[in-house]
Symmetry: C2
Subunit: 365 residues, 2 copies
């Protein structure tokens, strides 16, 4: 049996708590002889800063580079608000994305049948919702230079961020979106602000060309990012795959995930390019939710997004599709049985803790 090299990076806040449930699940899988893992664990974010004064160490980066898959928790919190900008918790996450070239961030927004009523949207608007947001993750405003605050002669400060995209960056993310659409409903929306941004204009043109050259069989719609935000609220089921840049993807995927009413449920995958020689790609899996400092340490966190992220790693990086299927079925089952953490409970419904939810999922396997 192949041994799979996993790096766990729990990070901060509830990241640590939900990762604990993944560790329990891994131990269970190993004990049952279902799969074999070489587990490593390291610090990232505020936790790394507290220990090493950097948001991620070079040693941890080396481990990340060597892993078959990385399971990431969450980073950040008010404790580190005054840390120097370059070592703020988020910098560790951004370094991982950039140095591993994890350019394709896949963020599903799925309404689980058992939870269709926990959305703030009307049931008929969200029932059966299944959108996949494909967010470019290594370019745009996040990484463009200059990125600085300078003090002017008049004493004023001036802050600059730079949004940069090149043809090849847009081509490769668009191709991922079109390929995914082919195994879904064959529809891609591409969102940008071509009416005010030159990067939006180039984005639009390159997506159009990529489509015509390689994916004419997929239906393509262009949509302005502001209208997209609106349509996500008005009628989200019109979307299948939505491809967009790093910053719009950040905002639109958070809005989309909230349509499902269950932020604690949603996993994500960040993928690099396929290595021509090995056919492998670097990959990091993380829940869409953040470190949630407000509920940290209370046993309130929902571990399903983190466990689901681990499941995605099994499926997409480790070739353990059947185990991934089993985990997903088990999650569906515990929801059907009425198990609820606080974030997905209806008013007055009985809730269980992070650990109890982890236990329930293992028990249902």
């Amino acid at each position: 049996m192949a041994t799979h090299k996993l790096l766990l990076l729990p990070g901060d806040g509830i990241g640590v708590e939900v990762m604990q449930e993944v560790k329990k699940l891994i131990a269970w899988l190993e004990k049952r002889g279902v799969a074999s893992f070489a587990l490593e664990e390291d610090l990232v974010g505020g936790a790394a800063y507290d220990a090493h004064k950097v948001s991620i160490t070079d040693a941890a980066m080396a481990r990340a580079n060597a892993a078959d898959a990385i399971i990431f928790g969450a980073v950040g919190g008010p404790k580190w608000d005054n840390v120097v900008y370059e070592q703020r918790p988020e910098a560790g996450l951004l370094r991982l994305r950039k140095e591993l070239d994890l350019f394709a961030n896949l963020r599903p927004a799925i309404v689980y049948p058992a939870l269709a009523d926990s959305s703030s949207l009307k049931r008929e608007i969200v029932e059966g919702l299944d959108i996949l947001i494909v967010r470019e993750l290594t370019g745009g405003t996040y990484f463009g230079e200059p990125k600085e605050i300078v003090t002017l002669e008049n004493g004023q400060q001036r802050a600059v961020d730079t949004q940069v995209y090149t043809t090849s960056e847009i081509e490769r993310i668009a191709s991922v979106a079109f390929e995914l659409a082919r195994v879904r409903k064959n529809l891609v929306h591409s969102a940008e602000k071509r009416n005010v941004m030159k990067s939006g204009l180039l984005w639009n043109q390159v997506v159009t060309r990529t489509h015509a050259a390689k994916f004419p069989d997929v239906k393509l719609e262009h949509i302005l990012a502001d209208n997209c935000a609106m349509q996500l609220v008005r009628n989200p089921k019109q979307f299948d795959v939505l491809v967009t840049d790093n910053l719009f993807g950040d905002i639109l995927s958070d809005a989309a995930s909230m349509l499902t009413g269950s932020l604690g449920m949603l996993p994500s995958a960040s993928l690099g390019a396929e290595d021509r020689a090995t056919g492998k790609r670097k990959a990091m899996y993380e829940p869409v939710h953040g470190s949630a400092p407000d509920i940290t340490g209370k046993g309130l966190a929902n571990p399903i997004a983190q466990i689901g992220s681990f499941g995605m790693a099994l499926r997409y990086s480790l070739g353990l599709v059947e185990v991934a299927d089993a985990i997903e079925r088990s999650i569906a089952r515990v929801l059907q049985q009425g198990h609820r953490t606080a974030d997905i409970a209806a008013l007055g419904e009985k809730t269980i803790s992070t650990t109890e939810m982890g236990d329930a999922i293992i028990a249902a396997l």
Copy 2:
């Protein structure tokens, strides 16, 4: 009786149709001797391009500069998709904003009691919603330089947009937000991405300082823009005034306006700085909705946002508060009476046309 200088810029698409209803209302007010207007009208957007090959002429800009208030319709449409970037329809709008220094864009998101069921959100989530988004309108990614597409040596193209903010730009928009909060629920949320953008970091710091120095009586909360998008969907009533930059404001205000389920209902105001000598400020009033090419020419557009924008002009620029009150009461009355254009009609409800809605509002005055 003072004569008020108004410039009407209907623009493109349904902009022309809904402005027609404002003209009818103005004629009615003049005939009744309620107020006296010196009306001018000019082209902007695609209409200006078709006539003059520019998205707004210098002559129209001069009229805009001389007006007491500008009533703007909407611009854009697929017809002008291939127009040179500098003269695309939106450029006319951006030039007006920038040259008149209309830095404060006020976008209310209000749920009208008669329409609480037309939102895609559950009634209890949106009932009574009354948010004011204060969007910075003359800075950020919209106007920063460089803004260009260059061809690299390897044949690739590289697009750049630049997000720039200075201390004073942030100070003045924050002050507008705090002042407005004082006459509302005394709560300001400031949204940025300080965790990835230097402009977000400066924004956060300057808002904090402005608050401490001049508005300590107002409650201030900082929120990350992605979380803000999420919270707007999850529980929008937690917000009162939301201040944010040009690009986030564009996206978040569109999402917020859709919470109300009635995009055709929402007016907005774009205000310049107060002239120290005269106490006046330049101002442009426009509906939040766009030119809606898909429904243009069908009599389907809802004129209420445009009429409401005219009402805001009466109130804030022309000192005609009682007339503005009367118009707002009249709008509320026709809604109460069950008059609905298609955008705000429930399934199966009888709908009326743009003109009929305009007539109904005048009849109810």
